[in-house]
């Protein structure tokens, strides 16, 4: 039996093992893999996720047991210290000796730390391993406890530096990016796109410093600042260095293998080094005089090395290596593919730039106009996968290539369909999975959904960038086989929300059990389908959440938002944000009486936190006696209609935004929808109410209101789009009734208007056809249904406190009047908060 020793248990070393044991004659070999880090190989590409959950296990490429199960000896926490090429042995730092027939060097890289005076100070970090991140988290926590507005800088504005910038932002420190070059992401972006990116990053709170050479790091024991030149100082409390990588070739150098001038073990296209028995793969390998700092080429190298060791000498590394990349995490789309910077002699560039929306798109087209050579996308990279495929497969491009990047005027795509891709198209470059393999997995019955395709082809398990395309391909293939893509809401129903809506309406069901028994799969329901059916029955039958409370979602069940310690918040409605001094006083007095934490919300009203279940009805009784009613902050229903002061007071106001906002809030209060709905009304185009960030927004203009729909803040912000211009109050209400009701009838569960509108076939134009032109002939029905809901409105808190039977549920114990004895509050800025989770 031959022995293979792998030095380095990183992503590529692991991949070598995985690929090796999948081969037929693998059992004739014994693999020992050494890793210097304390744990088995993990997914460095997704390292930043560690900030979110601190779950190192979730990042593991495979658990330690996997190696044992596959006959591989895994030795972690032990560095290989020496190689004796004549004896074909290695010695570890613990002075143990092992013999090999083949040696695979997969030692990767370490972060390059520039020789700046003071880099050794406390508070200076690199960004490569889980231990690095743990160090940063601990340091940041300490900083924040001492200094509320601590600052942290990242040295390096490349792909990784920006990812680190996001981490700084998430750790709650003021983020600064310091870059030596005059532009960001110098390897991927041209000057103009880099400027657009800079503006965008600044808009989300990153401070960018370009053309800065750091002379020294200031501070005694720990870092207090960075000095660029005389009088040019940036005060920071922490620094993350992300200035490039250096291959870890110290071992190779010591044993006399050929290495490059700037580091890296020289390999040929068989991954062989200058020693016939030694291979090098991943970020240590110098191939074509390049170190490829990406996983995909590393995985290809692993494949080549596996085949070479097994004697399949025809398998070689491709000559050209695709370096297309997409920036992840930071929440700004940036991608570059092929040749992003192309000399004019090779082709023409088409550039689209819109700085107001932080958009930049460039494609490079061959001189004959037939093929795509590369490009850059900033601000919107949603077409990256398709463009990247066109480039990789040298697909024909439209005669007017500009269509590929210009905003489509008719919503039609210039790309055609994913199914047009050739079978050889490599969809997942990390795992080298082609379109043909994905489709085959479904056609031969191996997989029946996206999860299945992912698990049997491994597509999408690397950087994950191809996931949307894998999903589209899966769905298209299923469709072509005549299989309807399941839209069932959960294991209990094969039906979609839209189907359930129709069924409940037509059959007139009024309880969950009727729906489940007649249309379910035989189970007993769950936390997905119960709240959904509750919401549908509320929309259709104008029920409040007091009806069948055991099927209501956590918050609806107790008509209040549950907080982290199991207490609740109380948010009375303050329509349009207008409130009298007397009502303000009442809120203050009630908050004081029940010792509630008080805060103004982002939705122009007041939130009282920390009420126990037992206290809720007592508080609400008092609020109701002062004329308040439920604010439905807990429901998937109308939240607030935010208003600006408008023409009653404001010197620029064109119309009474407050009056109209109150009218709209009162009109739509209480109705249950697929997700929450928010509105805004501004008195003029200065837009102080941020109406275009809401599900519906109105802006007063000369001659009426402009009505916008489908805006969203939250996780995926989107500006609302103009539905109608210069319309009067009555028309606004008519269109809004129709729009909202159409949304409530057809959206998916928990889909906000923005996502719904975007995915409607035909987009905004279709919405206009239905809502304004009444193409479907349902406008009158929609208005009637909405009017019924408006007429039947009842404040559910008033309903609850007046009904002893309903009140029973607001007791912490059924057999005692006591409160939860597990609650602990701690003081905070003259108020209180729950004791933090351990």
């Amino acid at each position: 039996m031959k022995k293979i020793i792998v030095v380095g248990n990183g992503m590529v070393g692991y991949k070598f093992c995985e690929k090796f044991v999948a081969q037929e004659n693998a059992e004739n070999f014994k693999i020992i893999i050494f890793g210097e880090e304390p744990r088995p190989a993990y997914d460095r590409v997704h390292l930043s996720e560690f900030f979110e959950n601190q779950n190192a296990k979730a990042l593991e490429m495979a658990p330690a047991t996997w190696y044992a199960d596959n006959g591989i000896e895994l030795i972690t926490g032990e560095r290989v210290a020496d190689i004796n090429r004549t004896e074909k042995t290695i010695t570890t730092a613990k002075d143990r000796e092992f013999a090999y027939d083949y040696l695979v060097m997969a030692t990767g890289s370490s972060p390059f730390v520039p020789p700046i005076k003071g880099v050794e100070k406390e508070g200076v970090f690199v960004y490569r391993t889980i231990e690095d991140l743990e160090g940063m988290l601990a340091y940041a926590a300490k900083l924040k406890a001492e200094k509320p507005n601590a600052k942290a800088a990242v040295l390096g504005g490349g792909l990784l530096g920006l990812e680190a910038g996001k981490a700084v932002l998430d750790m709650g420190l003021e983020p600064h990016i310091v870059e030596f070059a005059p532009k960001l992401m110098p390897r991927q972006l041209d000057t103009r796109s880099s400027q657009v990116l800079k503006l965008k990053l600044e808009s989300i709170g990153l401070n960018i410093h370009l053309s800065k050479a750091t002379n020294q790091i200031l501070g005694d024991k720990f870092i207090t600042g960075m000095e660029f030149g005389e009088d040019d100082i940036l005060n920071v409390d922490m620094l993350i260095i992300s200035a490039g990588i250096r291959p870890r070739d110290e071992l190779a150098k010591a044993c006399g293998l050929d290495v490059g001038v700037r580091g890296g073990i020289v390999v040929d296209d068989t991954m062989k080094t200058s020693d016939d028995n030694i291979y090098a793969i991943g970020e240590i390998a110098l191939y074509n005089q390049m170190i490829y700092g990406l996983v995909a080429p590393g995985y290809d190298m692993a494949e080549v090395a596996v085949q070479q060791v097994l004697g399949n000498s025809e398998v070689k590394m491709a000559e050209e290596i695709d370096m297309s990349t997409k920036l992840k995490l930071i929440g700004v789309d940036v991608a570059s593919f092929g040749e992003p910077f192309m000399p004019a002699s090779k082709g023409h560039s088409i550039i689209f730039e819109n700085k107001t929306e932080y958009l930049y798109k460039r494609i490079n087209v061959s001189l004959d106009g037939k093929s795509l050579l590369g490009g850059i996308l900033v601000g919107d990279a949603s077409d990256y996968n398709m463009l990247h495929q066109m480039y990789l497969n040298d697909m024909k491009i439209p005669e007017n290539a500009a269509q590929l990047i210009l905003p489509a005027s008719d919503g039609a795509s210039a790309f055609g369909d994913v199914t047009d891709l050739p079978d050889e198209a490599q969809v997942c470059s990390c795992e080298s999975v082609t379109k043909g393999q994905i489709c085959a997995a479904i056609e031969n019955g191996e997989a029946t959904d996206v999860a299945g395709v992912v698990s049997c082809t491994k597509a999408g398990t690397g950087c994950g960038g191809c996931k949307p395309m894998v999903t589209d391909l899966t769905n298209a293939t299923l469709k072509s086989l005549g299989i309807t893509v399941k839209e069932g809401v959960c294991e209990h129903f094969d039906l979609s929300r839209q189907d359930l809506y129709q069924i409940i309406k037509v059959k007139g069901y009024t309880t969950f059990n009727e729906v489940l028994d007649n249309h379910g799969n035989g189970g007993h329901g769950c936390e997905l389908c119960k709240p959904l059916v509750a919401s549908l029955m509320a929309t259709i039958n104008a029920d409040t959440a007091n009806k069948e409370y055991a099927i209501q979602d956590s918050n609806d069940r107790f008509l209040a938002n549950i907080q982290r310690n199991g207490t609740y918040s109380v948010v009375p409605r303050v329509p349009g944000g207008e409130i009298t001094p007397d009502k303000l006083i009442a809120l203050g007095e009630i908050a004081k009486k029940y010792d509630l934490y008080t805060k103004i919300t982002g939705g122009v009203r007041i939130d009282l936190f920390g009420a126990t279940l037992n206290q809720l009805p007592l508080i609400w009784k008092e609020l109701i006696s002062h004329g308040f009613e439920s604010g439905h902050a807990y429901g998937k229903s109308l939240r607030t209609v935010k208003t600006c002061v408008g023409s009653t007071w404001c010197r620029y106001g064109m119309d009474e935004s407050v009056s109209f906002g109150i009218e709209l809030e009162n009109r739509y209060r209480g109705i249950r929808a697929p997700h929450k709905i928010k509105g805004g009304v501004s008195g003029c185009i200065r837009e102080c109410a941020e109406a275009r960030g809401k599900d519906f927004g109105l802006i007063a203009v000369e001659g009426g209101w402009n009505l916008y729909v489908g805006g969203n803040g939250g996780a995926t912000p989107r500006h609302a789009e103009l539905l109608a211009e210069q319309i009067d109050n009555e028309t606004v209400i008519k269109y809004l009734d129709r729009y909202l009701m159409f949304y409530m009838r057809t959206a998916k569960p928990l889909q906000r208007t923005a996502a719904w509108q975007e995915r409607l076939e035909g987009g905004l134009n279709y919405v206009k056809e239905v809502v304004i032109e009444d193409k479907l002939g349902i406008a009158e029905d929609l208005e009637k249904e909405m009017q019924t809901l408006v007429n039947k409105f009842e404040c559910e808190w008033t309903q609850a406190v007046n009904n002893p039977e309903m009140m029973k549920r607001f007791n912490h114990f059924v057999n005692s009047k006591d409160d939860d004895d597990n609650l602990v509050f701690v003081p905070m800025r003259e108020q209180k908060m729950p004791e933090p989770w351990k």
Partner: protein, 125 residues
């Protein structure tokens, strides 16, 4: 924090020494739950009407140690009766106590019996 969890030990019907009369049947919603106080314990009790069964478990969710499970929604996961915590929707088998959608430790479950209109929970002490 471990001390809260130590208060709750899964109890099999054979080990029951005390049948505690908790409340009456109509104190509990159909297919829903409520919380019962027994000495220093908080016990979530569920009336699984669709199955015609009753279940009891610790009220404290092992995820963040909050007393909330009785306010969770019940249902089934491929036939296993379960409760979903109202805070982050971790789900637990009402029969074995096992965490069905994660790797939290199992919650303690207790036997329940109904006699006439009264609901009893079984404890070993």
């Amino acid at each position: 924090m471990e001390t809260i969890l130590d208060t709750y030990k899964a109890t099999k019907i054979e080990a029951v020494n005390v049948w505690f009369k908790a409340a009456s049947v109509n104190d509990f919603p159909a297919d829903g739950g409520a919380c019962v106080k027994y000495k220093n314990k908080q016990i979530a009790v569920f009336n699984f009407t669709r199955l015609g069964k009753w279940y009891a478990c610790q009220n404290v969710c092992p995820h963040k140690m909050e007393m909330v499970l009785s306010r969770g929604m019940i249902g089934d996961d491929k036939g296993i009766p379960k409760v979903a915590c109202p805070l982050h929707k971790k789900t637990f088998s009402l029969e074995s106590g096992e965490n069905l959608n994660g790797d939290l430790g199992a919650i303690a479950t207790y036997p329940v019996k109904v006699e006439g209109n009264d609901v009893y929970i079984g404890f070993s002490e």
